[in-house]
Structure formats: structure tokens, C-alpha cells
Amino acid sequence: MLTLLFDGIAYGMLLFVLAVGLAITLGLMNFINLAHGAFAMAGGYVTVLLMNKLNVPFLATLPLAFLFTALVGAALERTLYRPMYSRPHLDQVLFSIGLVFMTVASVDYFIGSQQQIIQLPAWLQGRFDLAAVGIGKYRLFIVVVCALLTLALQAVLSRTRFGSRLRASVDDPRVAAGLGINVNRVFLLTFAVGSGLAGLGGALGAEVLGLDPTFPIKFMIYFLIVVSVGGTTTITGPLLAALLLGIADVFGKYYVPKLGAFIVYTLMIVILTLRPQGLFGRAATR
């Protein structure tokens, strides 16, 4: 059972890295970006293509996946997303669903719809036992990398000037702009980093979650659960929500495979009904 717990934690941390960008952009720009999963998918495909076509070592593909998706995110933010910030949520939903459909169809066309296989480097394969817990090496790797990323994020947010600017802009963009903070630049950088993290998550998760063109649609609901249950005002909220989700999903699929994802969805509905602002969020002001 502890093995399951560990797997659940690994899954949860991965979900966190994937979804944290979405949480921040939602909290910052009040923008419902259902296309967030597409960035994750892009990162996954970057890794797969670099490894399989260009023989780039796995570890090296990770920062490249991050950079690529961050750049794409920055470009899209500047051109397509920015005009959409002030629009009603319905339009944002339509817009981002449209992007998802476009990316899914494009990937299907150019690369094909089959599952992508990655060959992990030898030192990441296999598992070992620690006390009663079976620890997969790759899952351990994921936990370590994601934990480091989380700490780095937390440090950036609370210790750096950019972090303060970001927090100010999340709190109240107009006042932040009035204080001389270049809110546009904050948005751009945040969106880029958020997308980059999603891409990195997609790269890390390709082996664990599977990678095919339907990835954004399959996992969109999970990212949205993390964000809506975790709230958008803190980092720890989505982190805890992601861990909860990861553990619930792993346990659910193991102990009650008949019900599968049903448990997760029902849990989400119950939580959101009792606390519409999420488990850890502030009450919605908009």
C-alpha cells in the first residue's frame, strides 16, 4: 500500500508541475485557458522527437522541452492571448478549445496518432525496495525534480522582485500598474514560464502518462481539477490538490478498478459544491 502511496505522490507532483502554470495564469489574468494541456503535449513531443530522431540524451531534452514551450507560450501570449484577457469567460473557453482542436489535429496530421514510446536511460529504469516500499527509479526521479521545481517556484515568488511584482499583479492589476509595475511584461513572463513548466511536465510525464494527440483533452480535466480545487491564490493550494488527486486516482484505480475515474470526478463535484472557491482558495471576487 505504501508503494501505491508513493506512486500517488509521484503522480500528484507531476500533475502539480503540469498544472501550476494554469493556476497562476488563471489567478493572474483571470483567463480560463483550456489549451494548457496542449503546451504539455508539445513538451512531450519535443522530448520524444529529440530522443528518437536526433539521439539527444533524455536529461538534455528536459530543459529543451521547457525552453521550446516557454518560447511558444511567449509568442502566443503576445499575439493571440493578450486581446482575449478582457473578454467574457465564454469567449475564452471557445478560444482555448479552438486552440486545442487545432493542435490535436495538427499533431495527428504531422506525427500520427500512435502512442509515443520513450526509451528511458538505463539508470532511470527499474525499481528498488526501501523498507516495505517499492520505489520505481523513474518515479523517484520525478518526485525529486518536481520537488526542486516547487521549491524554486516558491523561492522566486517570495524572495525575488519579480515574485513580488507577480503577487502584486495577481492581487490587483490596476493598482500594480499604478505602482509602476509593467504588468504586460509580468503577464508575458509568467505565461511563458507557466507554459514552459507544462512542457517540462509533459516531457517528464510522457513515459508515465502516455503521449498521443489526445493528451490535451484526456488530461485537461485533471489540470482543471487541480486548479479549481486548489484555488489560484497560493502555490501550496494546487500542490496539495494535485497530491490529493494523484493519490486518489492511483488508489481508486487499484482498489476499485470498476469505478475508475468516477471517484475522482465525484470527489471534485462534492468539494466544489461545498467550497466553491476550492479547498484552499480565497472566496471568488470575480
Partner: protein, 326 residues
């Protein structure tokens, strides 16, 4: 009513709910279409079902302002109820329809509790979640629903005891058309009633609505139930006219498609679902003729352009390249 002239106020209020010429023309056209569209009856049937589904979404989206990504939950529930009823209880379509509508309305009433609180995102998530739960349920309860194979062996009895559902779809189209017309008639009265106007009001300014004594929650629950009933009717039509129900009725793409249909046709004036359904089906057919597999890409592109240009401006091409006012 006396012989005294109607005051301006009374006249203005009456004018808002009176049948406009184009509405009557549209209704007449719809009736006549059964004869005109003879060979395309199957396609026309699909359009009528989609139109009803979209109009039901308009009630909660265009009138009450609830963004739902899971309206297919009620569509699918109506479909499976009708199919299971025909298979296990009684093959009469009209009784089955009544049962399905009632069942969907009940489900809507129960789910309406979930959409009362929270932000747009919360409601989006909850509605999406409900549809996904039903998809999973239908999937797992395969002894009842047939699972991924779908519910087989649904044989519908003749309509009104006389009209068999034939392969050409003529009976089907007539049936769907009548249901659609009846639903539109009812919805129209609701929309012009004090209740209907109060929905628009509470969508416009919830604080103000409360401040004139309107109970927001009760109204939202009522319209959600009504919309669920109509969506269930649409689902029942699909099941009954095709003699089949599958997981597809709960699928996300149904909820997304119907949202798109309504957005194309325009929200908030009740007929958007009809125009949107016609446009959507035509578009779908057109694009499928060029590229069967990648319909998704063009649909996505259309959505992106639609969102960027702005839904209201889509119908006015001369505003496309002017800077938006916002």
C-alpha cells in the same frame, strides 16, 4: 379589454411578446420543409435534434448566463432513458419521450444545486464533471447500457400507433419537427414571461435583481431544470429515431459542439440554436467533403477566429478590421 385605446406602455409591453412576422414565417417554413426536404429527411432530423439541444442550452447560457461544458449529461440521460424504456418496458415513442423528459428534468433539478454558487470556472468544472461522471457510469454499467458497444436491440413502436419509423427518416423528421415546434412554443412563452425577463435581469445584474426582491437561486434552479428537460427530449429523439444509444451521447465533444452551435447562431434570443444548428451541419458537411479526418482543425480555427473577432461582430464583416471598442 375595453374599446379605450391601449396606452403606450401597454402597447410596448404587448409588442415584445407578440409573434413577429419572421417568427411565423420560420414556423411555416419548418412545417413545409417536411415536404421539401424529402430525400434529406435523415439529415434534417439530425438538424432538428441538434437545434432542440442548442435551444435548451440557450436557456441557461444566453438567458441565465451559466457557462456549461457538460450539457450533454442531460442529453445522454434522456437518450439512455428513452432507449432503455423502449427496450424493457414499452416501445411506444410518445410515452417513452414523456418518461425521458421527466427523468432529465429530475436530474436537472438535482444538479441545479451544484451550479448556484461559485465562479464561472467552478461552474464550468462542475458541469463538466457531471457529464464525465455519467460517461463513466454508462461505461462501467455495461450490463445495463451495453458499454462501449452501445445499447442494442432497441425497436421502436409506431408513432401514435400508425406511423412506423422507416429507413428514410420521414416519420423521424416529422416527429422531431413537432417536438421542436412544441418546445419552441413553450420556451417562447417562458422567455417573454416575468420569469423569463427576470432571468435576463439576474444575468445582467445579480445584485440589482436581489434588490428588487427576486430570489436568484430558485430561478436558476428552475431554468436549469427546464433546460435539462428539453435537452433530455433532444436525446430521447436521437435514441428513438435511430433505435440506438451509445456512450457518444455523453461525450465531451457533444457538449462542446452544442456550445459552438449556439455561439454561431447567437445567444439570448432563443432562435440562435436553430440557425446555429443549420449552419453547423452545413459547415460540417461542406468541410467533411474536403477533409474527412481533420474536421477538428478547421473547427478549431473557426473557434479561434470567432473568439478573436468577437461573437457579435461575426455577423458584421465590416467591423472585422476595426479596432475593438474594449
Amino acid at each position: 379589454m375595453s374599446a379605450a385605446p391601449q396606452s403606450k406602455v401597454a402597447a410596448s409591453l404587448a409588442a415584445q411578446s407578440r409573434w413577429k412576422a419572421w417568427e411565423l414565417a420560420l414556423a411555416a417554413l419548418a412545417v413545409v420543409s417536411w415536404w421539401l426536404l424529402g430525400e434529406h429527411a435523415l439529415l434534417a432530423n439530425e438538424v432538428a435534434i441538434l437545434a432542440l439541444f442548442a435551444v435548451s442550452l440557450d436557456l441557461i447560457l444566453g438567458y441565465a448566463g451559466i457557462v456549461s461544458l457538460g450539457h450533454a449529461a442531460f442529453f445522454g440521460f434522456g437518450a439512455y432513458t428513452a432507449a432503455l424504456f423502449a427496450k424493457h418496458v414499452m416501445p411506444d415513442p410518445l410515452v417513452g419521450m414523456a418518461v425521458a423528459v421527466l427523468a432529465a428534468a429530475l436530474l436537472g433539478a438535482v444538479c441545479s444545486v451544484l451550479i448556484l454558487r461559485g465562479s464561472d470556472l467552478t461552474r464550468l468544472m462542475v458541469t463538466l464533471g457531471v457529464a464525465l461522471v455519467f460517461f463513466e457510469l454508462a461505461n462501467k454499467l455495461d450490463w445495463l447500457t451495453g458499454g462501449t458497444d452501445g445499447l442494442q436491440g432497441v425497436v421502436m413502436g409506431p408513432l401514435l400507433g400508425r406511423f412506423e419509423f422507416d429507413l428514410y427518416g420521414r416519420t423521424a423528421y416529422a416527429y422531431s419537427l413537432v417536438v421542436l415546434l412544441v418546445a419552441m412554443f413553450i420556451a417562447r412563452r417562458v422567455v417573454h414571461s416575468p420569469f423569463g425577463v427576470s432571468l435576463k435581469a439576474l444575468r445582467d445584474n445579480r445584485l440589482r435583481a436581489m434588490s428588487i426582491g427576486l430570489s436568484v437561486n430558485a430561478r436558476l434552479a428552475a431554468v436549469y431544470t427546464f433546460a435539462a428537460a428539453l435537452a433530455g427530449a433532444a436525446g430521447a429523439l436521437l435514441a428513438q429515431t435511430s433505435g440506438f444509444a451509445s456512450l457518444d451521447v455523453f461525450d465531451f465533444h457533444r457538449s462542446a459542439d452544442v456550445l459552438l452551435v449556439l455561439v454561431i447562431g447567437g445567444t439570448g434570443y432563443l432562435y440562435g440554436g436553430i440557425f446555429g444548428a443549420i449552419a453547423f451541419k452545413l459547415l460540417h458537411d461542406l468541410i467533411s467533403n474536403w477533409t474527412t479526418q481533420y474536421w477538428g482543425f478547421w473547427l478549431g480555427l473557426f473557434l479561434v477566429v470567432l473568439a478573436l473577432v468577437g461573437r457579435e461582430r461575426l455577423m458584421k464583416p465590416w467591423t472585422w478590421f476595426r479596432r475593438s471598442a474594449t
